[in-house]
């Protein structure tokens, strides 16, 4: 087992969800791990997963910037959390998704894919990789408070978007 293997799935999952393109994700993960190999002496020995995911994430953002066709794909100006701007949920009595499992999954993927990258990555790192706010803060290079506000906005936007998709 090589040193990078335990973290391959996490790296791939993050790159795949950020870039939404198999070929681009393959390039990003490959370049990141080779880059990590040449910079092994910069690793502080504490959290290999966070260190590797930071490199992968930076690589993905460079790709997104190079390939941004419209600026909305990459919104980075969300860092200041405006509590007044937190969207209200539409008060449908029960927004429970009354849909078949496969259809729910498809809608969920669509809604998640539509989120700005900063919210999407926060949700992926929290719910799929089960990382702490501190680890997510390290990887995404923002304060811990920003991680919480991004998750707040991400979940609220996701919920709103799911309601819109299920109740046209």
């Amino acid at each position: 087992m090589h040193w990078f293997e335990p973290h391959m799935d996490a790296a791939w999952n993050l790159a795949r969800w950020l870039l939404r393109d198999d070929a681009a994700a393959e390039d990003a993960v490959q370049e990141s791990f080779v880059r990590a190999f040449t910079a092994l002496d910069q690793f502080d020995g504490h959290n290999a997963k966070a260190w590797l995911l930071t490199i992968v994430r930076n690589r993905c953002y460079s790709w997104l910037k190079q390939n941004a066709t419209d600026s909305s794909a990459l919104r980075l100006d969300d860092d200041l959390f405006d509590t007044d701007a937190l969207p209200e949920l539409a008060d449908h009595a029960s927004p429970e998704l009354q849909l078949a499992q496969a259809e729910t999954r498809e809608l969920l993927h669509k809604a998640l894919a539509e989120l700005p990258a900063t919210f999407r990555e926060a949700l992926i790192l929290k719910e799929l990789e089960d990382l702490s706010y501190k680890e997510i803060a390290t990887i995404t290079q923002v304060p811990i408070g920003t991680v919480m506000s991004r998750l707040a906005r991400g979940r609220t936007l996701l919920k709103t978007s799911l309601q819109r998709l299920t109740l046209p």
Binding site: M1, F4, W12, D41, T83, E96, L128, M148
Partner: protein, 264 residues
């Protein structure tokens, strides 16, 4: 305690659902939720959304081919990170031979290159590099312990049959260095015991190998690529400790280990 207003509560609810709030902040959220139906509904909605993402979002699995591609690239780099080949430097000399100035510069470079290549790299340097690499890789792969135990009576027998020598094992918990376990490693192409200790989240690897006539020796203290190495010999064995600690900290570890050995 200050009362939370609704907008702040709706932010804190996320830290609450993710178990990231301290007791005081969690209590403030609790108190607000008890008196506010709207925020309670929001909290229920967010808990559902959180669960939906956890259960419903696909975890992408890395393609098998990607692993092989990365491995091939790293192997290639590993082969290339030796010293530059003589042929490459020689080729460079003639590629740039365009005028007197560059010719002179190239000749100077060639002389330097020959000196660098001709100087044999010391085995001791190689051993130090190898130890740093093994230490970093074991931390990266999070496979730094094959036998997890703080009990030396478990760790010591684990090595028998795997090594042709019996490494001494002590738990140094009382001295501030709890034993986490051990693993089998290789140094200079020979099997070595690696004991893993911890101090305040710093991982200390202690490599143990028999002293051989041809084997390399390290200076007692060595700083290499940001890591501290401390080495000593005892009873025909070479001990090399490595950690991202300062010299004093790691010397205290070696002193603790040696006094435990003396007490046996």
């Amino acid at each position: 305690m200050t009362e939370l207003d609704c907008p702040h509560c709706r932010l804190e609810i996320h830290g609450y659902l993710d178990n990231e709030l301290d007791a005081g902040a969690a209590l403030a959220v609790h108190r607000h939720l008890n008196g506010c139906q709207a925020c309670q509904d929001y909290c229920i909605n967010m808990r559902r959304t959180k669960q939906l993402v956890r259960d419903g979002v696909q975890q992408h699995q890395a393609p098998r081919q990607l692993r092989n591609d990365i491995l091939a690239q790293i192997k290639q780099r590993e082969a290339a990170t030796g010293r530059p080949s003589f042929a490459a430097l020689f080729g460079q000399l003639f590629a740039y031979r365009t005028n007197a100035v560059t010719t002179f510069a190239s000749l100077a470079a060639l002389v330097i290159a020959i000196v660098i290549i001709a100087l044999p790299r010391s085995h001791d340097d190689q051993l130090g590099d190898e130890i740093v690499s093994e230490h970093v890789r074991s931390l990266l792969a999070q496979r730094n312990i094959d036998v997890v135990s703080s009990d030396r009576h478990t760790v010591k027998p684990w090595f028998s049959g795997k090594l042709d020598f019996a490494p001494p094992v002590y738990d140094l918990k009382e001295q501030g260095f709890p034993l986490l376990g051990g693993r089998l490693d290789y140094l200079q192409a020979q099997p070595a015991a690696a004991l893993v200790y911890e101090q305040n989240k710093h991982i200390i690897d202690l490599f143990i190998q028999p002293v051989t006539a041809s084997g390399s020796k390290l200076p007692p203290n060595l700083k290499l690529r940001g890591y501290q190495l401390v080495s000593w010999q005892q009873d025909g064995l070479q001990f090399i400790a490595i950690a991202d600690m300062d010299k004093e900290g790691l010397t205290a570890f070696s002193a603790a280990f040696r006094s435990a050995a003396a007490g046996q």
